[in-house]
């Protein structure tokens, strides 16, 4: 349905809103990657089949003419509560069912759809009892979902639903009521800062591009979310693709760009597919293309899939990749705003940044700066992973403390272990410890303690985690993903990894910590790109806070957390050993000896520390120390 002018857009919006309003019950089946993997498509199919059997009129798409169907089934974006998936949400009640299986569908249709009853057994339970409504669950109650407001609330594959909830109003306002300067001014006054990690003021970036004389100008959306343990951007692209497109269109209009590119990680096929659908819909509706809504503004958006290179999250590597080249960062100047994609002025922002824009335009900068902190207004989405009870995607106002995020929203540490540290900002970030639980999470506070918001991955580690191993893990990642261009990153990270591998396998030497720090200093001072400069951060911050763990590994060949396999020492407890000799047969190294029915002994010099003897002993006589 091609919308030719502002009036038609407004009319479409009210028609679809009315249509949505008519649906007595809306069932939102989570279609985020997590819940889909957990089987949500089968649940949706089952529900549809059951409704059909009972002749209950149900709509899977929103029609222009309000129709008779009173149940709407929708594929929603990620609710964030991935730990509890697959998730089902019911509107208007606001109920949330968790860990739903196709077998539950019969009962759901019978009770909830037909009779309007709540099924307590499918609801979330915690110490305080059963939580009927999603919004009452502690995981959600403490969140402020602005960017993610539609994720889990509307159908992620439908432009009609996006329009029905007021979608593209901000673009409409920008297009017809504001000049490029006015838009940039609003975004600048909102002090929106880049959510991709750097925190650069978005408005200033747009202004720098707008001022460039060269044409054409490009707009690039960085959806190459490669940090392990981060999936905020994926959830936005999958769950509310139109919001991101709307942000891009506003930015394109403001900065004078005519073409937008979205660079999406190859590992996100669902996001690519949803974005394709969304772009096609926007084109069909005349929201992308030439002379949009009769305004004279032309804008198109294309998708580029990544091909598996973390470094392409770096701006100049990303544009190189779009140009069909190796994703190697280039030296600056010239900066991306001057000579970015195809050497033309380019606005490059990440997914979450663009997704913030429509609200700022619609509700104004005064409203926006009322959220978050003075220098970091707004909210930030974080992905909570690791040894935490509630793994998932959350959104909180900037300045929320680390403790609130981990304990109030995340539910604290999984199992009976204690909190040890959290890695923030992925492999480029640093770790925060117990002393930082009261630290407000915002750009500047984090920078002060040597960490960074990064893209927003929070990997929580309990006290059974070895921090040297964590540093090794991240260094291994960075080393694998180094593009190889500049010497300090290519060779420096390789050597740092070798030193760390030595330490965790019991070959650490006196002076290793100093050598690591010397390498870290060189790499961070001289590497070519931001990723290289930050590559050593996990090492520097773990040495800073957990130096004694390193020393223990190096001096006493002992892993205090007890996780470094090569440093484990096995011993046979003579009090428990019955001399059955099963372990003798199992040991590949011939390290166990002893006479039958007499307590055996384990020669630690021969022992490979493979641990094969542990499970075979029925008397639990093999102990690790």
């Amino acid at each position: 349905m091609l919308l030719r002018n502002r009036e038609e857009l407004r009319k479409a919006r009210s028609v679809y809103a009315e249509s949505l309003e008519k649906q007595r019950l809306k069932i939102l089946v989570c279609a985020g990657t997590g819940c889909m993997a957990g089987g949500s498509p089968a649940i949706r199919d089952r529900l549809l089949a059951l409704l059909r059997e009972r002749n209950i009129a149900c709509a899977v798409t929103l029609e222009k003419e309000p129709h008779g169907a009173d149940v709407g089934i929708k594929q929603s974006g990620c609710h964030g509560f991935c730990e509890m998936g697959p998730l089902l949400r019911f509107e208007p009640q606001g109920w949330l069912y968790i860990r739903v299986t196709p077998d539950d569908c019969e009962e759901i249709v019978e009770k909830t759809v037909v009779n309007g009853e709540h099924i307590p057994r499918l609801a979330y339970r915690a110490d305080a009892g059963v939580f009927e409504r999603q919004d009452d669950i502690p995981f959600y109650r403490k969140q402020t979902r602005l960017v993610l407001e539609h994720c889990g609330q509307i159908d992620a594959t439908s432009i009609e639903e996006y329009l029905a909830v007021g979608g593209y109003s901000a673009f409409e306002k920008a297009l017809f009521e504001m000049s490029g300067d006015a838009i940039i001014d609003e975004v600048s006054r909102a002090a929106l800062r880049g959510r991709g990690g750097g925190g650069f003021p978005t408005g200033r970036k747009w202004m720098q591009v707008k001022r460039q004389k060269a044409t054409p100008k490009y707009l690039v959306c960085n959806g190459d979310e490669g940090d392990p343990g981060a999936f905020m951007d994926r959830s936005i692209m999958e769950g509310d693709p139109h919001r991101m497109l709307e942000g891009m269109m506003i930015a394109g209009f403001a900065a004078g760009a005519s073409e937008g590119y979205i660079y999406v990680r190859a590992e996100y096929p669902t996001a690519v597919q949803r974005l394709r659908v969304a772009i096609r819909q926007a084109c069909d509706f005349g929201l992308l293309g030439d002379n949009i809504l009769g305004s004279g503004f032309d804008f198109g958006i294309r998708i580029n899939r990544g091909a598996g290179a973390f470094v392409c999250g770096e701006g100049s590597a990303l544009t190189a990749s779009i140009e069909g080249k190796r994703g190697m960062p280039r030296v600056k100047p010239p900066r991306t705003v001057e000579q970015g994609l195809f050497a033309k002025p380019t606005v490059l922002n990440n997914v979450e940044t663009f997704a913030n824009v429509p609200q700022i335009i619609l509700r104004g900068s005064d409203w926006y700066t009322g959220i978050g902190t003075k220098n970091s207004p707004g909210t930030k989405a974080f992905a909570l992973t690791g040894n935490i009870v509630n793994t998932g995607l959350i959104e909180v106002p900037m300045g929320t403390t680390l403790g609130e995020v981990i304990f109030d929203i995340g539910g604290g540490i999984r199992g009976d272990a204690g909190f040890k540290a959290v890695q923030i900002g992925g492999p480029s970030g640093g770790c925060l410890t117990g002393e930082h639980l009261t630290l407000p999470l915002d750009f500047d506070s984090l920078k002060k303690v040597g960490a960074m918001v990064g893209s927003g991955g929070l990997v929580v580690m309990d006290d059974r985690t070895c921090m040297v191993e964590v540093a090794r893990f991240f260094m291994n990642f960075t080393q694998n993903e180094s593009c190889g261009k500049c010497v300090p990153c290519r060779e420096g990270t390789k050597r740092m990894l070798a030193v760390l591998e030595g330490i965790v396998s019991g070959n650490g030497r006196e002076g290793d910590i100093e050598l690591l720090l010397e390498l870290a200093d060189t790499v961070s001072a001289t590497a070519l790109c931001g990723l290289g400069k930050a590559a050593a951060s996990p090492v520097v911050s773990t040495v800073k806070y957990f130096r004694e763990e390193y020393e223990e590994h190096i001096r006493n060949k002992r892993c205090p957390a007890g996780t470094c396999q090569k440093l484990k020492r096995l011993r046979i407890d003579p009090a428990l050993c019955k001399g059955c000799s099963l372990c003798v047969k199992t040991c590949p190294a011939g390290a166990v000896t002893g006479e039958k029915k007499q307590p055996h002994t384990l020669n630690t010099d021969l022992c490979l520390r493979c641990g094969a003897c542990i499970p075979v002993c029925r008397f639990h006589a093999v102990v690790e120390e």
Partner: protein, 163 residues
């Protein structure tokens, strides 16, 4: 030019993406999707089509992890070793599959071209850790036993389809 190789598929892909350097990555992606790897024959051909050297195409193809110069298996199994999966023990899953399939870090594809086993750094499905994917379909909360069972059933499915 290799005369036996049928370039009509490649021609279609090149024309669909545009004969320009900036299309190289999407062309390679489409070719890989079709052949499940990048046949050597396409390199000089593509180089000619977009007017760059063959070494440049090779250089791009080897930079990105997702491109394979070796034929890949019918089922590409990727075990996630992102942070969340790693701390929830994804490595034992990988080891189990390697021993089941007779593969190693260097040998990643079975001789019958049925399975390719790789690791991937975070699929972003951390809530379901540990996960693996088979041809982009995500399997959540995997254990070594579940993975082994999955591979077994895929093998049966393939033999069934062949018969």
């Amino acid at each position: 030019m290799n005369r036996e190789f049928d370039y009509s598929v490649v021609d279609g892909i090149i024309d669909g993406n545009g004969r320009k350097i900036s299309s190289v990555i999407s062309i390679l992606q489409d070719i890989q999707e079709h052949y499940r790897y990048l046949p050597r024959e396409i390199f000089p051909y593509l180089a000619d089509a977009v007017a760059v050297s063959e070494a440049r195409i090779y250089s791009v193809a080897t930079f990105y992890e997702n491109f394979s110069l070796e034929p890949k298996g019918l089922y590409v199994v990727k075990v996630c070793d992102g942070t969340a999966c790693h701390v929830r023990r994804s490595i034992p899953i990988l080891n189990r599959l390697r021993s089941d399939l007779g593969l190693s870090e260097r040998k990643v594809t079975t001789d019958d071209l049925l399975f390719t086993l790789e690791t991937v750094s975070c699929l972003g499905a951390c809530g379901l850790a540990p996960v693996l994917t088979v041809n982009d379909k995500v399997y959540p909360a995997v254990t070594p036993d579940k993975a082994s069972q999955l591979v077994k059933s895929l093998r049966e499915e393939a033999t069934h389809a062949a018969a």
